[in-house]
Amino acid sequence: MSQYYKDADDLYKIYGYFLDRVLRDDKIGTKMRKAGIIIKFMYTDPDAEITIDVKNPPAKEGYYGTFYLGPCDLKPDVWSKQPADHSHRFWHGLENPIAGITKGIIKQGGKVTAMLKLLPVIKPAFRLFPVALKEMGLEHLIVLKK
């Protein structure tokens, strides 16, 4: 039972808002574009999937990439699967991804080294995630560092 998400729609609502900001952010978006990959995030509890495409031209003007909430036909270059709650804490900067992979909490496949190119965007995005939650009136979902 997820601590943070009621169901997949709830997850899509939050990540949709967050990614909308991330992919419009000049600093983060530019760096994501440089990665030039299609990445699929798969979540468990609740089951959900999100695909981010920073390889093809963005579908909307003013964006550096396109995201798809739910199943999508795009073939990902790399995929990652993890519990939704782990991802929620990760985007607060509270989970070590290497430790997650070492312990088998995060599974990955495809051209996983391509994900290294996303490293420069992760830290700035950590700051945006709690901000997004606050803007959505979901302060109770903000996880504080112990």
């Binding site: 989970e95 070590n96 991804p97 290497i98 430790a99 997650g100 992979i101 070492t102 312990k103 990955q108 996983v112 080294t113 290294l116 190119k117 490293l119 420069p120 992760i122 830290k123």
Partner: protein, 624 residues
Amino acid sequence: MNGNTGRIADINLTTGAVEILELPEETYRDFIGGSGLAAKVFWDRADFSADPLSPEALFILMNGPLTGIKLSGVSRMNATARSPLTGGLAESSCGGYFPPALRLAGYDGLVISGKAEKPSYLLIDKGALSIEDAGSLWGKGILEATADLREAYGKKSTSLVIGPAGEKMVPFACILNEAHHAFGRCGMGAVMGSKNLKAFVMKPGRGDLSLADPERIKSLIKELTPRIKDYLISQVLHDFGTAGNLEGHMYEGDVPIRNWTSNFDEVMGDALTGSTLSERFLKKTATCAYCAVACKRIVRIDEGPFALAEGPGPEYETVAAFGSLQGSSDLAAVCKAGRVCNDLGMDTISAGATIAWGMEAYEKGHLTDEQTGGIPLRWGDMETVVNRVLPMMAARSGKLGELLSMGSARAARAIGGNSLEYTAQSKGLEAPMHDPRGGHGHALSYSVSTRGACHVQTAMHFMETGACNYPEIGFEFDLEPLTHEKKAETTVLAAAIGAIENSACLCQFADRSLTLPEIVELINAAAGYGYDIASMMEAGWRVFHLKRCINYRFGFSASDDDLTPRLKEPACDGDSAGIEILFDEMKDRFYELMEFDSVKGVASRNKLESLGLTEEADRVWPGR
């Protein structure tokens, strides 16, 4: 004997005498092999009053019990001596192709003493050892000397060679196998140079491995190889080399910049990271023997001031030491500097760190034009570094070359002022390119490492970054890098695991995904030691404590388990900015857990005796 051959050649270069040491199987089991076994041989045979560069000093090469097995990352080799840089126990590890060749020639190790009358090399041909004239090789760079030896003994021969820096006994001179794989740290090249020993050469030969359970070894190779290959770290290493995550490390505050005065520069991170190296200069990958990971880089630079013929490319440590640490984002300069260091035979960490220290001293006016002989030593001036400074250091020529060839700690003492405070070292060994302020466990593990500041003598580097998980010994928690919490407790475990890895001669990259039960099984199937996890861990601690006893006999004590102020002062930028390392708390707790005496810095008599180190206990705790 299985796994090991049971034979160690003892060669006196002064007399030319060769004897075979046959140690009891129990000694192998107690000290595992590699680093541990070499430390035991050193303890038993070394003259502790001997200068590291005197004929009386010992130089030891030692394989581990798995060497020669066709599995990734199990065929490294240890070199042990007294360090001309630190005055303490020196050890260094190298992969490449020499270790399995030595095993197949019928030896676990070589113990070298004495001094050859003239420049020589040691030839091993079908198990027979002979001392040969190296007159035509002396003075040559490692690239040319290695090529000459290959031409003389065939493409399948393999060699360990020193360069001009080793001949001149630069205290951080290194040894290279195939001009690519290095015994980098602690000045092993200088020890060889002091013995007039230019090289070890192994003619191709065929031998058999005697294994305790060959069928189980076969099945383990089959089971483990795909997993090692598929492991995330292995994939990063294959695609982008050991600098593959430099950019990520930059965001963790791990990469030192401008002599450790900064930890964060996004532009530098992007310019120097492994994917940039692959995109710009990589021509192909290379490997150590039997390795499926292939983290080694072969690079070529076609034009510009640092144009470079196709050949070995830089590791992460070289990239940072000749890049960010010297205030440079010029990856071509890094490649060139690495190649020049390789050819001259100098450790890129110590050489790069000493130059970076010199740049800061020059900027501060502590190092004057008069002292540099008029050579400006400015941040990022890599043409001066590559074309002038490195050759002078290797030759120990000119005022600047003479000064920097001493290493940062001695050079700082020579110029005085407060310049020692901004060296980045422990026990005189320059720190590797992982900033302890970005991971406080590194601060403790660097300081208690017997060879000086080192990120591979214990497993802390990988434990703190989350790259390993050992539930069987209670390590299944995440460490928060920027605190002291659980770091002492983890370093106790990391000390044993590091000793096991370095004694079994495992590659800390390729074999990162191996679990403790798998390491136990590999060692038992190869050497029949009959370990379980507890007895293997005990062997690891035995090795760690033995090395502490060796350093004690060299005059080291608890006060030497420290870092220079530069490495402990809070960082000024990046994630670690302003965060204090609670060093004393970590050290005190570690000492308590390890039962270290707070003055001597060695374990109590009871602790040593409980590990079977009775003779060692008598030495460091005389009189009951």
